[in-house]
């Protein structure tokens, strides 16, 4: 059993937000909560690059470390999930996360934050698989169906890779290899000090 990983190929990402909307539409996420976002640097200049970010399902996840209620847990396949029943919305995971992955829809009492919501790698949550409750709290459980997370499956240019870390690395290595030398090669600018 490998570990599940996302990898966004910045040479391919075109900032179409397909992943963002695929995720929202697939899991019926309220407006304002972004399990996934696309970030662009150097907008409008040569060297403009975009990258799609969500929970990275860290091997050594800071959110798990800081969670006071142990609501966040990691499955054996590396997917980091949150139990919304246990979560108290304290927001510590947000402060610990380098990627801004944890999201907080507003709760009922005094405008307090509700339970944390984040990318589930389309693996639902701790509830019974395909149950109505799971669907409602966490969205689809595509991993249990044997399917790819929606964002990666629907990526317009196949920039976003998802899956077993080893396989993702293989795919990416193959791509870098195919890109060959010259302007398209990864790290060419760095290695040869030219653009």
């Amino acid at each position: 059993m490998g570990r599940m990983k996302f990898l966004c190929d910045i040479e391919r990402c075109i900032d179409c937000s397909g992943c963002v909307v695929a995720c929202k539409e697939g899991h019926h996420i309220p407006v304002g909560v972004n399990r996934r976002r696309v970030i662009t640097i150097n907008q409008g200049k040569p060297g403009e690059k975009s990258i799609s970010v969500s929970c990275m399902h860290c091997a050594d996840a800071p959110c798990i470390a800081v969670c006071p209620t142990d609501a966040i847990y990691q499955r054996d396949d590396g997917i980091v999930l949150v139990s919304k029943d246990t979560c108290i919305g304290c927001g510590y995971c947000f402060m610990a996360c380098p990627f801004g992955a944890p999201q907080f829809p507003s709760g009922q009492v005094f405008g307090a934050r509700g339970a944390m919501d984040k990318c589930t790698f389309c693996a639902g949550g701790p509830e019974e698989t395909f149950s109505v409750k799971e669907q409602k709290l966490y969205g689809q459980n595509r991993i249990a169906e044997g399917k790819v997370p929606l964002c990666a499956a629907m990526c317009a240019t196949k920039a976003l890779l998802a899956g077993d870390a080893d396989e993702v690395a293989d795919v990416y290595r193959e791509r870098v290899f195919k890109r060959g030398s010259g302007t398209n090669a990864w790290g060419w600018d760095k290695a040869y000090k030219k653009k």
Binding site: I14, A156, K158, G182, T183, N184
Partner: protein, 703 residues
Amino acid sequence: MIFIGSNAAEAHPISMQHILHAKEVNNAPIIVVDPRFTKLAAKASEFVRIRPGSDCAFIMGLINEIIQKGWEDKEFIRTRVAGYPEMAEIATKYTPEEVENITGIPAAQTRKVAKILATNRPTSLTWCMGGTQHSIGSSITRAFCILQLVLGNMGKSGGGTNIFRGHDNVQGATDMCVLSHTLPGYYGLSDGSWKHWCRVWDVDYDYITSRFKEKKWMNAKGFTLSRWYEGVLGEEKIEQYTPIKAMIQWGCGSNSNSQYNRVVQAYNKLDLFVIVDPFPTMAAATCTTDNVYLLPCSSQYETSGSVTSTSRQIQWRHKIVDPIGGCRDDYSIMKDLVERLGFADKFYKNIKETPEDITREINKGTLTIGYNGQTPERIKKHMENWHTFDIETLQAKGGPCDGDYYGMPWPCWTDTHPGTPILYDVSKPVAEGGLPFRNRFGQETTYVMSGREENQLASKGVCNPGSEVKGGYAEFKDVVPGTNWKTDLSQKTIKEAIARGMAPFGNARARCVVWTFPDQVPIHREPLHSPRPDLIEKYPTYEDKPNHFRVFTRYKSEQNPNLVKEFPYVLTTGRMVEHMGGGAETRSNKYLSELQPEMYAEINPVLGNNLGLRDGEMIWIESPEGGKVKVKAFFTERVDDKTIFMPYHFGGTLMGESLAGNYPAGHEPYVMGDAANVCTNYGYDIVTQIQATKDGLCKVSRA
């Protein structure tokens, strides 16, 4: 690959999959020619910043450079191109230095691009609205094609001109010619064409004639989408016996019309205005009169029918769910209307099963573009077996569709023909998807410009494999006496041509000189509202055209060298990935609205700071026609310091005033903003009357 006036990364994101594949796997250079550093330019290997509206000069400059260096495909030109010397003569005027003067592209870069094109063959050339929406749009697009002819890239895998079309079925609707100057299948409006379609429809030619006011109106081009409102307002001289009093807008967002404030005036003057759309479009909110009807048709997912993608692939859009609420699908609304207008028996004579029988009627009549083979059964079979198609060649490997190309791109001459994935490809037999250039414009021509006489048929030896005639040949006719391949409803002519390994439409040369156009060879002409008054004298626009699709159209009288003093910045418009067209659909989608919640205008920080504006501030942008929009300033280096860019998807606000209250309650879109097209300038193409939205002028002030 070269992209001119196309932002595929935003307008056609999925195509980027293939574009980046070519870049990465084939190491194909991507050249992007655009006034704006687009998201596509971010992926390009060469970005060429061009002044809006000067594309023709740049392309002619490339052609000149290629010819001067001797990089042209001499064999291709000798055998398959007509009018070449005349074109080359004119191209010599566009030296790289002159191109730099007109377009702002450094001469060295023009030379570099020419070299990239010459050394990376075949090159695929892509353009979109950035190439067409100019007063010389028809010249610009022809220049693109001529460039590909000169390079010998036509009819080759990886070559050709690939226009990325906007709407999902704009190719299908264009093939069906929902156009005021032609009948379905590009038959035109001549008597022969009408007679042909009357035979297809199985009605008397006299009956159709009787429906018109007079017979002459049958052959006269009608008003266009871009200028129909002149027929209502009557401010310009119109060539029609009556002003337009009623309007049916069927699935048309309307705020994509330039000079939108005048369109709004026209809405309010109509006696009857019917809007058929799943969402209330901006049109419903802009007019305030009483005679407006909103008919909720279903979305396309709630009905079925075929759609043609930009690569001419025909796919069957299956109905997913029944029309929701009280909506009706398009077919039933049309049927209801026709029944109430009293010609349903004739209209639906051969149409029993909707929509399949309609497809069959199209198959029967649309012979010009080889629409005979795409029967509903075959299209559906392709949809069911889409997984059997090879992703490189799009040809089915085995399975029920073995050998077919996906979606049977037209021409698909017979019901066993696989479709033609690449037009004018002479390396394949016609029966397997090959094609020569069409013989359409006679066989001998004498050019006015040079007095030279030239045979329009292809040279000896150039033909598809298995062709009976080894070389050029004329189009097929009189196989069934009195008909030609276009009008022979029995399709015997086409079948015979295919059987003999030949194309029904002949084998001719592609022409560089179009003797029916105002500019026989594409030449640069300054936009009507030019930011370069010094160039107007050298590259003046056309003479005014009195009856241009029934309306007087100004050219020379509109071009004013002093305009730029008051309106100093070039205004161009375009798309963003989150929205579509007028945005009625996407601005009613909460997730897409969340991603792009505001109308803005892109301004270079240099220009913004010179004008004393702040990033994120509200500004007025005003056009010479008096249109103005209130938008947020967005400082970005995507545009240069003389250009202002606005996305045209927004609506719901007119000249700074919100129209939210004019929508049916609860149906106003989530996001509203000023419609950019209020500001787009006057200007229409000399041939097609497409609006010139990409090269207008404007001025900016703080709101």
